[in-house]
Symmetry: C2
DNA sequence: GTTAAATTTACCCTTTCGGGTAATGCCCGA
DNA sequence: TCGGGCATTACCCGAAAGGGTAAATTTAAC
C-alpha cells in the first residue's frame, strides 16, 4: 500500500475486495463503487473462505465485509484477514446495529463499521479514508462504541499546569501497587515485587480501597480498568 | 440539530464553533472552513471558558477543539460541553498523538480525533460526518484507539450455527456468577443474590477460575472485562 | 527548621478465599 | 436406559484478605 502524507482520504487507486453472500448486493456494490474515481474493485467473494483465499493473493487495500455470512462469519473472517494480510483494512458493511456486533467487529480488527443504508458516495469516502487506516463508525452506532472509552476523571494530564493533585488521588506508590493488584497479585506477591514487607503492601492496598471508595480489591481492579487508572 | 436519513455526511448547514488559543490557527481555520459549502463557522474562542459560554448560547452542531489550552484544557472543556449541550459534537483537532490523549479525548465525549496535518477539505468532511454523530479517528492514532476493543474470542455469536460451545466455556450459571464477581461481590453475596448456598457459589467460582485459567477472582474479573465476557 | 505528607513496619482480629473431595438430583442426548 | 454434563450442597483446611490502630522513617515543602 502506497502512502501519501497529509491526505486523509486516499488519492491513489484503492484496491477493494467485496465479501458478501447476496449476489444482488455484491454486484450492486461493485457497480456503484467502480463509478468512483480511485476505487477499483478487483474481486468479489460470496463466502468468507473464498474471500480469504482471494485476499491472500491480492492483498487489497480494503475489504468490504458483510457480517452475516454462512459457515464462517464476518468476524472470524476479519480476524483471519488481519492475520494473512495485516495491511489490509477491513470495512464492515452490515445492517446489524447490535452493540455486541459493533464492539466485536472493531475488536476483531475492523477499522470501519458502516450500516447498509449508507449512500454510495459516502461509502466510497469511508473506503478511501479506511485505506489510510482511519477509523470510521456509523453515526447510529458510534455512541455504542465510544462509551467504551473510560472517562478520564483521574487522568493526571487533565490539568497539566500547577495542579497539586486535588487530594483523593493515588500516590505514586499506590499506583504501583494498584498496577500489580490489577494483575491479580496477592499482597504477599506485591510485597516481594516492591521489596517491602507484607504489612506495607497491605497498608497501600487499604488506602487504595479507601481512596477509590470500594470494598475489596476486585472492585478496585475493575474501577482501575474502567477509569483508565492503569495503563492497559 | 436537523436530521436527514441515509446521508452520512451532513448536507445541511453545519454550525461550527472553533476553540483554539493560537489566533493564527484560529483565523486560518475559520477562513478555510468558510470556503466549504454547508459549513458555517459562527464563532471562535481562544479559551475553554470562553468557548463554553459561547456554546451554551449557540448550541452549534460541531465544536473544533484544541487540546492544549491554558487553564482548563480541551478534555475538561469537552466534558463540560457535552453537559451543557449534549447534541453538540466535539471534534478534537490537535498535534498530539499520545495514546493517553487519544483515549481520554474519546472518553471525554469527543466523537472525532484529527491531527493538525489534516487538509482542510478532509477536515470539512470529518466535520460534516461528525455533525451526524459519526466517529472518526485519524489514521495515525486509530490503532491506539481500536486496540482497546476486546477481541471476541469467546463471543457466543462468533459462529451462530450449530456450534455446541466447544467446551472450556462458561455455562450460563457461571456467567451469571462471573457478572456478580466482576461487581466485586463476595461468595456470600453471590450466594444470596442467586438464592443458593455459599457452597454453590464457591463451586461456581472455582470452576470459573479453572476455565479461565487464572488463580484468583481478581484475575478472573480483569480477564472477563478485557475479553468482553461480561457486558459492561 | 518545623510541618506535612508519604512510606514503611508491626500487631491485633474476623471474615473470606481457594483447593480438595464427594455426594445428590436433574436433564439431555446417545 | 445409561451415561455425562450441570447445578446443587456439604465438609475440612490453610492461606489470604480486610479492618483497626499505631508508630518509625523518609521525603518534600514551606
Amino acid at each position: 500500500m502506497s502512502a501519501q502524507a497529509n491526505s486523509y482520504f486516499a488519492t491513489y487507486e484503492v484496491k477493494v475486495v467485496i465479501v458478501e453472500d447476496y449476489k444482488l448486493t455484491r454486484v450492486g456494490l461493485r457497480y456503484a463503487l467502480n463509478q468512483i474515481e480511485n476505487i477499483n474493485v478487483v474481486a468479489e467473494a460470496e463466502s468468507a473462505e473464498e474471500g480469504i483465499e482471494i485476499i491472500k493473493k491480492e492483498h487489497p487495500d480494503v475489504v468490504l465485509m458483510d457480517l452475516g455470512l454462512p459457515n464462517m462469519n464476518g468476524l472470524e473472517a476479519t480476524i483471519k484477514i488481519k492475520e494473512v494480510s495485516p495491511d489490509t483494512q477491513v470495512v464492515i458493511l452490515t445492517s446489524h446495529d447490535r452493540e455486541e456486533e459493533v464492539l466485536a467487529s472493531l475488536g476483531s480488527g475492523a477499522t470501519a463499521y458502516c450500516l447498509k443504508d449508507i449512500d454510495p458516495k459516502a461509502l466510497s469516502d469511508v473506503i478511501k479514508c479506511a485505506a489510510k487506516g482511519a477509523c470510521w463508525i456509523d453515526p447510529t452506532v458510534a455512541k455504542l462504541a465510544l462509551k467504551l472509552f473510560p472517562k478520564p476523571e483521574n487522568a493526571e494530564f487533565l490539568s497539566k499546569g500547577a495542579n497539586p493533585d486535588p487530594k483523593g488521588h493515588l500516590t505514586e506508590r499506590e499506583q504501583e501497587v494498584l498496577r500489580l493488584l490489577v494483575q491479580g497479585r496477592s499482597n504477599t506477591e506485591i510485597a516481594k515485587e516492591l521489596i517491602v514487607s507484607v504489612h506495607t503492601a497491605k497498608a497501600h492496598v487499604c488506602s487504595i480501597l479507601q481512596k477509590l471508595c470500594v470494598d475489596d480489591r476486585v472492585q478496585a481492579a475493575v474501577k482501575a480498568i474502567k477509569e483508565g487508572l492503569v495503563k492497559a
